[in-house]
Symmetry: C2
Subunit: 256 residues, 2 copies
């Protein structure tokens, strides 16, 4: 069974998509076959890999509605060892249908348990910034909720809501769900980020990744170019930091 | 009737809440009585004014469910001329109830038309980063959708979705709805933001505010302090820029 990671934080703009893209590419680079699934109707993960969400025929919506399998809607990317299940316009109305279905929560976990998915070492799920059926089905399928957060008041303020949903899912559909917090968009120039980081280290120490991802404009450029940072700017600081995160994650998940 | 502005962009983290706070405080400073309504279950607008969403008794949820009026759930802030309708935990389950009601869209517009609300010159609505009933009721009530956007690929990519929802609401429940785009978090140091700004000026020129809000760490500090930027750092660059935006808006809305 692949190790499943859900990128989740209710706060918007904390680098959930950027982390899904960069971490998946770093894992693929180390020979760990990885599948990315875009669960966000915005489709940033899809466009960050150079695909146009408006032109994607299949998406995870087809799978959760029972019309298709993950293996048929997934597609290879320019990065060897990295495949993508894109997002498209169907993702917008999907939550309403899921709400109506009895017990929709395990649908994604069940699709990931199918034999043809076992060739992946990792599956990364990019969630939208909201508490809803798409996020709940992702957290039900996940081994780990990876919570990217900025060192800013609004992101930390909302952290409790994001952890609350994890506790809720743990209590109902996924008792094994673990979580880890990753500091992103860190800007060492001012004092504020350092102070908030110290606060996070004090209150969340065991759950905090050692790796901190700094602000790096090469990441923005790589998204415009539709390529992950490890390909677009191979030796940039951000690429090195996300490789370090991949290393830390492999140790945490006790994978070779 | 107050002039109603909805802060809306489906992209997360583009400074919707920061703009609602800073623009409202700048309008109040000029003697324009302003009401802020927090429509986001995250409650960042509420905490940015120093209140704890977990301890707020009333919210807009009570009003939209028909249990209370806006005037009873609103509360004064430390800024004279600026009142707040806070967010609380009830906001999380509200969308599900609204979905079940026939014709929920005009509920907020009807509450804003009540006589006791006519003393406000402006009402600002802070929306969550998702297409759902809370955003639709806000856009139905609004004269103007103010779309903050970063000069980054993901924000611009999602802009079409945000504009699509505006067109949809215009076609159904609010034919008069206008929109204007505001560039936020602008970082003049690199080349990327300048290039994307030129792209926005080319494709969205008539809808773009002249004012551009630059990155300013004083804004982050002001949120930690629970005070708007015009109070926390009166003569900072961000405070000046948001005052300039208030000026531009007053001309656009043809208000004295
Ligand atoms: N380390 C970084 N350095 C510079 N820019 C970054 C970094 N990480 C992310 N960004 C930029 O910040 C913005 C927000 O990141 P991203 O879209 O990945 O966040 P998100 O949490 O997925 O947002 P949403 O909540 O809308 O899904 C993007 O424009 C991205 O390019
Ligand atoms: N001009 C600026 N300079 C520096 N930091 C800023 C600026 N504007 C906003 N920020 C910071 O960027 C982060 C995102 O802003 P904000 O939370 O207002 O965006 P949002 O669009 O409301 O997010 P969400 O989609 O989660 O509701 C916050 O931590 C805020 O403090
Ligand atoms: Mg995202
Ligand atoms: Mg906000």
């Amino acid at each position: 069974m692949p190790y499943v990671i859900a990128l989740w934080h209710q706060k918007g703009g904390v680098a959930k998509t950027t982390t899904a893209l960069s971490l998946a590419a770093s894992l693929a680079e180390r020979g760990q076959a990885t599948l990315l699934i875009d669960l966000d109707p915005q489709g940033n993960l899809t466009s960050g890999l150079g695909c146009d969400p408006a032109r994607m025929r299949g998406s995870v919506a087809d799978v959760l509605l029972g019309n298709d399998r993950l293996v048929t809607v997934s597609r290879p990317t320019d990065v060897s060892g990295l495949d993508l299940v894109p997002s498209n316009a169907d993702m917008l109305t999907l939550p309403r249908w899921l709400h109506l279905r009895e017990k929709y929560e395990p649908l994604l976990r069940d699709s990931l348990a199918r034999p043809e998915l076992q060739r992946y070492a990792f599956v990364l799920l990019d969630c939208p910034p909201l508490v809803g059926p798409l996020t709940i089905t992702a957290l039900t399928a996940a081994d780990l909720a990876l919570i990217p957060t900025q060192c800013e008041y609004f992101s930390v303020q909302v952290l409790n809501n994001s952890l609350e949903l994890i506790r809720l899912v743990r209590g109902r559909t996924n008792p094994e769900l673990a979580y880890r917090i990753l500091v992103t968009l860190f800007d060492g120039r001012g004092l504020l980020h350092g102070r908030v980081l110290a606060h996070l280290q004090q209150h969340f120490a065991p759950a905090l990744f050692q790796t901190v991802i700094g602000v790096d404009s090469k990441l923005r450029e790589s998204q415009l170019a539709g390529r992950p940072i490890t390909v677009h700017a191979h030796s940039s600081r951000a690429a090195q930091q996300y490789r370090q995160l991949a290393e830390e994650l492999l140790t945490y998940a006790q994978r070779p």
